[in-house]
Amino acid sequence: MDAHHHPQQHVFIPSDEPLDHRAVALHFSWFLDKNTLLACLRVSRSWFAALEPCLWHSFTLLRDLPSPTLPQQPFQGVQRQQERTTLHPRRYPTPGSIQRNARHIARLRYFGELPFLKALVPHLNQLRYLEVTRYTEEVKQLLQQNATTLHTLILKGDPLIPGDTILVDRIWHHLLDCSALRVVELNSAIVSDYEGTKFGKVCHKLTSLSLIDSKFLERPKSDDEFLHLHTLVLERSYLPTEDQPPLFELCPVLENFTWRSRSGKLSIFKFLIFLNAGRGEALSGLDLSGSQIVDSDLASIIRLLPGLTRLRACNSLFGPEATRVVVEVRQHQIQELVLLECPGFGPMEAQIVLTACSRLQVFSAPVVNAMHMAELAVLTNLRVLRLGEVTDMEEGPFLLDLKVHSGLGLLSTLGRLEVLDCEKLKPVMEFSDLQWVVRTWRSLKTLVGSVHPNFEQRDLSNEFLASQLPGLETYLTQAERSLALAAR
């Protein structure tokens, strides 16, 4: 090692800022569960000072805070919520704590009309992420106070009030002032027919736009293309008639496109023209679920997407033609394939995909079942495995077992498996099989379905699995899991 250098030489110092303990403390806190973080606060004064702000980084205020003494009650309206607030003040932070810490909140999820919100809002000027269910006037104030920092905005109508919608027109000019805004998601929103220009101006700075269960009487108006928009989600949203150019035509750098529209079919013809003009080169994730696209159109689309790695086409006619294109030209790149309720995707198609697509991390097709163990075993990148029903009953009940000695052992190659969904398979797994699971699938985080028909046995099995695999979550059905994820 050379010990001398020349002091006169002009040197460039990468950064002379002091070490950022605060940023490191925050990063570190993201690896801890809440209760461990709370324990850390009590370790010493310096730990408290470093980590208390981290506790407030992400703040959630939803209406149904569980009460430790009252039994769980369904939502009864705002008044009952207010009652609950005054009866159990310790479920909310103290005013002193808010004074000290609310300014650290960078991510806020809240349900509007909660009285507690008013105490919080004046302190919030560092927000990067804001998710609001049930629009109230506080939203405008928050947009103004956080105009330079807000990156992500999610607005939702109240799901318990049918027809509760957000009239986005109230806030367009606030959104225009939010210089850092890049991600917008609107649920149950209405955009009226004279705000297209402002809508367009907002879209120009966005990288991601999601319009869900919403009604747009006018599309975002723009002469220029949206040069930053790489994610576009249109789910069950009503868009005006087809004489205006479809939204995707304004998005030349689209990487992720979801079209799940209830009203009006995706103009496949226009989409194919768009792709044929080479505009789909950046597209890597495509979700056309529920669009009832036919097999040959899917085949054409896949062929025109050189960067495709993730494809969801549930409830479509994905079949032999699309399968052939996938294994011919996309087999080395396709990582996610979700084909639920595709009557045209049968066991033969599944077999072909399993043999050809070695990079698959997520493969969900009900037809994939315990008969395909040997083929599944080569998909060493698989993170999500869904096993469907066994329909070929000639093979007998043995295939209903998910046992090490009857095929499960072949899946010891799936070292990265995170999600196992055997809801449809309804297997019987004995203790030795569970022991195999905890030894082999160390990354397993989620189990959907029951591993034993007897419910007591199932509960004991889940307990055992959870004790051996830290962080494992178990759900009886996929629906239960979706609800749990939505509540987070």
Partner: protein, 155 residues
């Protein structure tokens, strides 16, 4: 091509450019400055820590570069630490601080995950024992912190 990194205690380290560029801080600087033989001073990193950081970067020189995430606060998992990394990380908070300063996210993650794994599920007293920390709270103060933050508990 090599670069020379200089620790805060004036020790020079000759490192391949490819290895040094695992630090995004250094990578960006080299892009701005262009071809230059000037040594790069790192006033916040001692020789002892820099040795370990360079060792980590050498081992991981062929790893794919991590794409920066647009949104923060992703869900983090604590389980998937490479075996080599586990042996490498003797819990040294200075390495974690250096990794943050030099913008080497994978090393920052490994360091944080290692410490997180040690303290997961522990009581404050058990954490103090693990790191030899003196408790400078009175029992009343500790109880007050617990009470004041009950709202945050996972039930």
């Amino acid at each position: 091509m090599t670069v020379i990194l200089v620790s805060s205690d004036n020790q020079d380290f000759k490192v391949d450019k490819e290895v040094a560029e695992r630090s995004i801080l250094i990578k960006n600087m080299l892009e701005d400055v262009g071809e230059s033989d000037s040594p790069i001073p790192l006033p916040n990193v001692t020789a002892a820590v820099l040795t370990k950081v360079i060792e980590y970067c050498e081992h991981h020189r062929n790893d794919p570069v991590q794409v920066p995430e647009e949104t923060d606060d992703p869900r983090k998992r604590s389980n998937d630490i490479e075996e080599w990394d586990m042996k490498f990380m003797q819990v040294d908070h200075e390495i974690i601080l250096a990794a943050n300063y030099l913008d080497i996210k994978p090393l920052l993650d490994v360091g944080c995950k290692t410490v997180a794994n040690i303290i997961k599920g522990k009581t404050p007293e058990e954490i103090r024992k693990a790191f030899n920390i003196v408790n400078d709270f009175t029992p009343e103060e500790e109880a007050q912190i617990k009470k004041e933050n009950e709202w945050a508990e996972d039930r």
